[in-house]
Symmetry: C2
Subunit: 373 residues, 2 copies
Amino acid sequence: MDEFVVTPWEVRGRVDYQKLLHHFGAKPLTPAELSLVEKYAGEVHPLLKRGFFYAHRDFDLLLKWHGESRPWALYTGRGPSGPVHIGHMVPWILLKWLSDKFGVEVYFQMTDDEKFFDDPEMELAKATGWAYENALDVIALGFTPDKLHIIIDTKDVEPLYPIAVKVAKKITWNTAKATFGFSDSTNIGLIFYPSLQIAVAFLPTELRGETTPVLIPCAIDQDPYFRLARDVADVLGYPKPATLYSKFIMSLTGESKMSASNPDSAIYTTDSEKVVKRKIYNAFTGGRPTAEEQRKYGGDPEICPIFHYHMLFDPDDGAVERVKSDCKSGTLLCGECKAALFEKVREFLTRHREMREKVAGRVDEYRLGAKLQ
Amino acid sequence: MDEFVVTPWEVRGRVDYQKLLHHFGAKPLTPAELSLVEKYAGEVHPLLKRGFFYAHRDFDLLLKWHGESRPWALYTGRGPSGPVHIGHMVPWILLKWLSDKFGVEVYFQMTDDEKFFDDPEMELAKATGWAYENALDVIALGFTPDKLHIIIDTKDVEPLYPIAVKVAKKITWNTAKATFGFSDSTNIGLIFYPSLQIAVAFLPTELRGETTPVLIPCAIDQDPYFRLARDVADVLGYPKPATLYSKFIMSLTGESKMSASNPDSAIYTTDSEKVVKRKIYNAFTGGRPTAEEQRKYGGDPEICPIFHYHMLFDPDDGAVERVKSDCKSGTLLCGECKAALFEKVREFLTRHREMREKVAGRVDEYRLGAKLQ
């Protein structure tokens, strides 16, 4: 087994997701939860069915709570430090689906403060600008302002701060240091920031004035944040947030996670068709060095980012299975497989850009702070 | 000379104010500054003239700036953890005088968050409640809403947070620890809090969109906060805050500073006349054990809280000088001196309570957050 490291601030090596689950102490997603999802949603989203979301904390309890017609909300976020890539959008697609199928509201935190604290080169106005830009990518999924509440930290802190204050009192420097890997030279903004990330988990309860747990769909590396959030919830008498954990989106270069420092490792929603085509055609694959060898021995879809993207973006189970078996058998060559993926991604991006343009300039209609004024 | 300790979180022993000045590296207030005050204000307030405010940073530059008709603002604050005593009100009286005479606006921060972070027993709702209560004592000095902007941290954080974020990025854990005496078990709220205290110093510049330095009248123990604020101002390109430092208000028990844990050490604005009378009559004095000895040897006004209060509350220089010389000569006995002080305090408190009642329920008219909405 390769060595690997997963923390909220670093992902390195080839990730063993089962080992990681065991290490964090979260639960695997089982047929029991999926059948409850099917019961309430009428179907199971491919990202759940195909095991991209594969672990959780208290998702079973949340589904039970939903079955009792009790209120809950969805919560996720993004650190706005640049353009959104389609890897970011995958969990948001599930978010939108959950919101639609279960009829619940979404709290979406844009942590421009965190990105500013974390990057010595980042200007605050730039991070806030990216927050507005990225918010368009979320809204473009088809959200209406009654279902999506965007929180840009430096703009919408008012309803959040009194909760963050209660959270902050329960977290010592020692705990923060151990949980988030802070050092003596960490700035006091970054040290305080987890209070704001945790506070959103309790915001629906405060705003509604009744117990309203949240479900947080996010990548598994965020678990330390929300494990701490669950401890704090207990102490403060808020409902513990439930979580739904995904694996990472593979890098086009074949690494376990895309790297923000290598733009060729990901497809951005702002990439031109030409760039998208180039990135896909230059991507690492699980194929053999020559077409001849591929026909003879077949490829390995498990390590292939191209197959990974088919799995993420094609709702047709049969089609995905065909890609897989044709790759393994050697019938499908990487070139054709890439061409097919390009078509799917092109279609997705075209639709997304149309939607994005339609909602341009409308972020404030979705901002929680603006709604509460 | 007695040993003494002065930090923002502890005052112990008999304070040597000249030594302290030298230790902190602030400047003594000199006739040069006072004559500029007289030039612009038409008079010099007793609290300046009598040396209760005795030190500063850049007050001379601020007066020069004022002489050039350039804008500035006043800034001070209070940690709302209980009722206000008349010791708290003394610097606010100067604040009001400066605002009137120089025609400048006042930013008054109520740090309910800090008080909540700092005291394990304090509830947030209680601290915020005290913020509203204490705000009435400030407003009762006769401020109008165009001249006084109250900032209750958990209510009015919105305009402050984007500035605090910039401040926080420039302060590491190491610096915060050394400046404020934090430990490994300090909570992350208290660690972040100095950013919000410093941010107010830059708020007038942000709100007006032009360089608007602040003058901060406060007790000398606050110097470490604002020394850091001045360093950060330099780095961020904001004007350095100027400060005007007072000595501490003597405890009625004779200590250098009143103690929040001993209610008999101070007179609260909420104390009944009976209680005020008892506190004054039971106070420590610089007098002799018997009337006979007092008549023979005279008393020591320098160590006497009763004389200290005459000095703080009587605008008549001649009257204060008479108390001093009559005490020293032994003509004035402590009983008469206390009776005379009680009359002055009673009068002040009666007028203050009338004003306080008039403005009851009107705090929101003064709250910055409410005005900006």
